[in-house]
């Protein structure tokens, strides 16, 4: 069973794949953390207090965010492709 896609539908698929790939690339560039973080733990060296830890405000893109964006992308793409299919059908008839 093969699915025939028209030009517009193919474009939508390419855009969706590009977006999903982009979210995965961003995730890897942020250090491939599983969960998205808004604060990161940093170690501070102090002559008197020794090594202490402190939370600092910093955004870290996690796999959860990539998966949410990918799922939304797939859902929106399917809806868009559905409407593009209707246009094709109308054009064909």
């Amino acid at each position: 069973m093969s699915i025939k896609l028209n030009k517009n539908q193919k474009k939508t698929v390419y855009v969706a794949i590009s977006l999903i790939t982009l979210t995965l690339v961003i995730w890897i560039l942020y250090g491939a953390e599983i969960f998205t973080k808004t604060e990161v733990l940093v170690e501070i060296e102090d002559e008197l207090f020794g090594t202490t830890k402190e939370w600092r405000k910093e955004f870290v893109w996690g796999l959860d965010l990539s998966l949410i964006i990918s799922a939304i992308t797939v859902a929106v793409s399917l809806v868009v492709m559905y409407f593009q299919k209707n246009k094709r059908d109308k054009n064909e008839s």
Binding site: F35, K37, T38, V40, F49, K53
Partner: protein
């Protein structure tokens, strides 16, 4: 009667001598450079919780640290920060630490042993084992912590940071959540480890 008075006098002299040998170091929760760190390394996630509200009172004999040391360390668990606000709220809830009912983790020092040196000299780190009772979530258990003690005699350098002679304490130990009646909810299984690494780091002063 005379003998009784003599005995009481001798005990009084001994107690006075012991109490004079002890130096009391204190720090309060306002100095946020002091901290306790709780670390969970689970298969799905590593979680680090930091509380910067730590107060301590430690009485120690600088010429023999194993000589009847005593003190306590108190950490405000409601101030535990894990980097995610929602997770912090869950941690404080009745299902976990229940900080409304048990706001503090408290350690009462009862003894110091296996010290690398009995004497605390200026700027020299001494490692030892500290035993005592740890109370979390309404449960008290005897634990032993690996500690590092460093004494700093008051100098221009230390005075600019904190007044008085200083004692830096670093302690590390492990606890089991189930020992303290803290159960891991099934929805976070794999994200929280049953064994938690705990470390405390503080600088206390003898300044009155």
């Amino acid at each position: 009667m005379n003998l009784n008075f003599q005995n009481i006098f001798i005990v009084f002299i001994i107690l006075t001598a012991v109490s004079f040998a002890q130096t009391k170091f204190s720090c309060g929760p306002d100095d946020e450079r002091n901290q306790a760190v709780f670390e969970s390394n689970a298969p799905l996630e590593d979680i680090v919780g930091v509380s910067n509200k730590l107060s301590a009172d430690v009485s120690i004999d600088l010429s023999d640290i194993s000589n009847n040391p005593n003190g306590y360390v108190k950490v405000e668990l409601a101030e535990l920060k894990t980097g995610i606000d929602l997770r912090d709220r869950h941690l404080r809830s009745a299902n976990w630490l229940d900080t409304d009912n048990y706001p503090f983790a408290e350690f009462v020092l009862t003894g110091i042993s296996q010290a690398s040196s009995k004497v605390l000299e200026d700027g020299t780190e001494v490692t030892a084992s500290a035993s005592g009772n740890l109370s979390i979530h309404g449960v008290t258990k005897k634990i032993t912590a690996q500690i590092k003690l460093t004494f700093f005699k008051e100098s221009d350098k230390t005075k600019s940071r904190i007044a008085g002679n200083l004692l830096r304490v670093s302690a590390d130990f492990n606890i089991k959540l189930s020992d303290y009646n803290i159960s891991i909810p099934s929805m976070v299984a794999g994200k929280v480890d049953e064994n938690i690494k705990v470390s405390a780091n503080f600088v206390a002063s003898d300044f009155k």
